[in-house]
């Protein structure tokens, strides 16, 4: 990885900070977020690793990660973050970066019918908010 001003400070990264309202560099990589995350078993990158990639300007790599879709926005990380950073905001911003051009992550047609039958409405509303 070659680092330079151009690599670190990209338009994508700037947008990301605008959407999330978070200063990516304020993270000092203590890892408390990852330590307390309930969803890490389904993640390919740990939450703090996503932030680290963003610090280094590697936005695309973060976007390619499963992690941002597995985050359940439970706020366990941000409630405990010593730097007051809201990782869920950053995750949501990454999702938005993907979704806003019109892409979607969840296709309603692909949800199994049996699940659709029993899942509470709240889950459907929330999921479509997050994934489409």
């Amino acid at each position: 990885m070659k680092l330079s001003r151009e690599v670190i400070h990209t338009e994508d990264k700037r947008k990301l900070q605008d959407i999330s309202g978070e200063e990516i560099l304020s993270c000092y990589q203590c890892g408390k977020c990852s330590a307390g995350c309930a969803m890490t078993s389904a993640m390919d990158l740990l939450p703090h690793q996503v932030i680290r990639l963003l610090q280094l300007g590697q936005v695309q790599e973060a976007l390619d990660s499963k992690t941002i879709w597995v985050c359940a926005s439970c706020l366990a990380c941000s409630a405990r973050c010593p730097r007051g950073m809201s990782l869920p905001n950053v995750m949501e911003s990454l999702r938005s970066t993907f979704l806003r051009p019109g892409d979607r992550c969840l296709n309603p047609a692909e949800i199994p019918y049996e699940l659709l039958e029993i899942v509470p409405e709240q889950a459907l509303v929330a999921a479509f908010r997050k994934y489409t």
Binding site: M1, K2, L3, R5, H9, Y28, L56, R83
Partner: protein, 648 residues
């Protein structure tokens, strides 16, 4: 002899391991014990009262306190004993904590047996203890401070302000040390010069401070309260008493040479004042480059000097002083970067060290404070800072942390960002150690607000290519190898003791650690004292430290000096070596082994003699003496044999 034994539980420290009731029982039948008891905290007031009462009520003539190390509480319990009108040297400690309960935590039965033996041995010692009284030594109430950096200046000022004369000896022609070279200081970013120069001039004009710059310690002898110092003032070839510091000589001198003060970033003249605010503001001729000395011609300075101060025939002056205390504050140097060849220092011009970066930053420096790289004067847009160069590197440098680099690197990166807002600073670090007041916040501002990119990992290689400095590093947080094509690289090189410190320490007969830093008497409880009484240490001479810590330690050293000066005489422990003149054969083995120079041979009488003030009571001479002519007071061979006898 009626001896009392007082066993301390030290909470659970001893009581939790040693079966104290069992020890008490075992001691009950022991020969001539007048009193045996225990208490949870013997060092507490009620504990001490217990001892006092027992001495009075039972008429004890000896006391054994079985507790912690004598280093911890011997003086406490001896005071207690004295308060009960028993000679304090009739009180001994049996160390059943550090030497028993702590190391034998897992084996209480053995610990109990050992505690009993240690106590019995101490009882045997006390049985033969003499009543002693402290020795008295006169004190010369003048101080010597070696080193005119911030620590030395502070110590000198504190002592001088208290009304005592101080000789401040500085090797360089000016005072201020490395701090004079700094631009701004962390964590407040106030200008180094602004806080230093008022102090320097105060030192320069203080009625109680005799300033010897351009001088070195030539010799020193004596002991606490009575040191004889020989100072060698090197020839400046300028009569400073006459010179008015006008600078004309410097202006007219035709010889240019590298400026030591500006490191390798600027030139100066063969006759020069290091920097405009230098104290004293007097020039020195560098005889190694001056044309008068090298070629026997020129002499322009002599001709232009309006007051006739140039004196090519000046010689080193030898000055004798008698002082009662010494503060050593000889400061630091940077680790020779040639030993970190992979970082390209000395090969690539734009690889510089932290002090050089300070000069680049300094408003009075070679670039008037603009950050311009040395090779072509361009403003660097990407700057890589590398920490731990030589520090925390057991194999290629030093195992210790140089302590200030994390902070000054954060400062450098921030100052750079202030001056080059569109530039990108990178910092390669291993951990960030920011343990001072306001330090962590300072570093966090660097990362969060100034956009300094911290990369956790050590740089492996630095080389020059196409006008760029290529840096191979790693970011262990993202597990990615990192390559940066930078414009400039700044190395945070390890701090090492100032050159010549080891030799000076030898002269002063104080010890150094394996890296040459001066050793303190106790790392926690006596951090500013050397093991030689009357010699104190301050600043980076002891270990890497920053300005606040140096100033704190200097003040503390000064306080120790003032405490020493608070009386005309000092008392010295009488537990020192004595020689039995009837037995001594004058073989001199004791003289050879004495680490404190406390032993000499009286050639006329063919006897070894003890200088009781210098003697630290270490016992080396007693071990070396084959005939037993030498012994420690209250630790003679017969006592030792009785103690052994009690154990085996």
């Amino acid at each position: 002899m009626k001896i009392g034994v007082f066993i301390c539980h030290c909470g659970l420290n001893i009581g939790g391991v040693v079966d104290i009731p069992k020890v008490l029982e075992a001691l009950s039948g022991y020969d001539s014990l007048g009193h045996v008891t225990d208490y949870r905290y013997m060092c507490s007031d009620p504990g001490q009262q217990l001892i006092k009462d027992a001495i009075r009520d039972k008429g004890l003539t000896g006391v054994v306190v079985a507790a912690c190390s004598p280093a911890m509480h011997e003086s406490t319990f001896r005071r207690t004993t004295e308060a009960a009108s028993l000679n304090p040297f009739r009180c001994e400690m049996a160390n059943i904590r550090e030497q028993c309960s702590w190391p034998h935590r897992g084996e209480p039965e053995k610990a109990t047996q050992k505690a009993l033996e240690i106590i019995k041995a101490s009882v045997e010692k006390v049985r033969k203890n003499q009543e002693l009284s402290p020795l008295s030594i006169p004190v010369t109430r003048q101080a010597l401070v070696i080193g005119g950096g911030i620590a030395g200046m502070q110590a000198a000022l504190d002592i001088a302000d208290a009304g005592y004369n101080v000789a401040l000896v500085e090797r360089l022609p000016y005072i201020g040390g490395h701090m004079a070279q700094l631009s701004e200081t962390f964590p407040t970013l106030d200008c180094s010069q602004c806080i230093l120069t008022p102090k320097s001039s105060e030192v320069g004009s203080h009625p109680n401070i005799d300033l010897f710059t351009n001088s070195e310690i030539h010799a020193i002898s004596g002991y606490v309260g009575n040191f004889d110092v020989v100072i060698r003032r090197k020839a400046a070839y300028v009569n400073w008493d006459v010179c008015n510091g006008c600078g004309l000589c410097m202006e007219k001198c035709p010889v240019k040479t590298d400026s030591d003060f500006e490191l390798r970033l600027a030139k100066t003249k063969a006759v020069s004042i290091a920097f405009p605010q230098a104290v004293p503001n007097r020039p020195v001729i560098n005889s190694e480059v001056c044309r008068h000395f090298t070629q026997g011609k020129c002499g322009v300075c002599e001709k232009v000097c309006p007051v006739g101060a140039i004196n090519f025939r000046q010689e080193d002056a030898i000055i004798d002083r008698k002082v009662g205390a010494v503060v050593v504050a000889t400061g630091y140097d940077l680790h020779p970067k040639t030993r970190v060849g992979e970082y390209g220092y000395g090969v690539a011009k734009d690889v510089i060290d932290g002090l050089e970066f300070e000069r680049l930053n300094s408003a009075s420096g070679p670039t008037q404070g603009e950050i311009r790289r040395p090779s072509d004067g361009k403003i660097p847009k990407e700057v890589v800072f590398i920490q731990c160069v030589g520090s925390r590197d057991q194999e290629n440098g030093y195992p210790y942390c140089s302590k200030i680099c994390c902070m000054y690197t954060a400062k450098h990166a921030r100052l750079y960002k202030h001056k080059v807002p569109d530039g990108q600073p990178y910092v390669f670090y291993m951990d960030i150690r920011a343990g001072g007041k306001g330090y962590e916040e300072f570093v966090q501002r660097a990362t969060e607000e100034e956009g300094v990119l911290y990369l956790r990992g050590r740089v492996s290689r630095v080389f020059e290519e196409d006008g760029k400095i290529v840096v191979f590093g790693v970011d262990t947080l993202s597990n990615k190898k990192v390559e940066i094509h930078a414009d400039m690289v700044v190395l945070a090189t390890a701090i090492v003791p100032a050159h010549g410190q080891t030799e000076l320490a030898r002269l002063l007969k104080i010890s150094t650690d394996e890296w040459g830093f001066l050793s303190e008497a106790h790392p926690k409880l006596r951090p500013v004292e050397s093991l030689t009484r009357g010699i104190y240490i301050a600043g980076c001479a002891q270990a890497p430290k920053d300005i606040p810590d140096s100033v704190t330690q200097a003040g503390s050293a000064a306080a120790k000096v003032l405490a020493l000066f608070s009386s005309d005489t000092l008392s010295h422990t009488p537990e020192v070596a004595v020689v039995d003149e009837e037995i001594c054969r004058g073989c001199g083995l004791c003289v050879e082994v004495c680490a404190y120079d406390a032993r000499t041979l009286d050639m006329r009488r063919n006897l070894a003699v003890v200088n009781e003030v210098l003697c630290e009571g270490c016992g080396a001479c007693q071990v070396a003496c084959p005939s037993g002519a030498t012994c420690q007071r209250n630790m003679d061979t017969a006592q030792v044999m009785s103690m052994i006898d009690a154990v085996i």
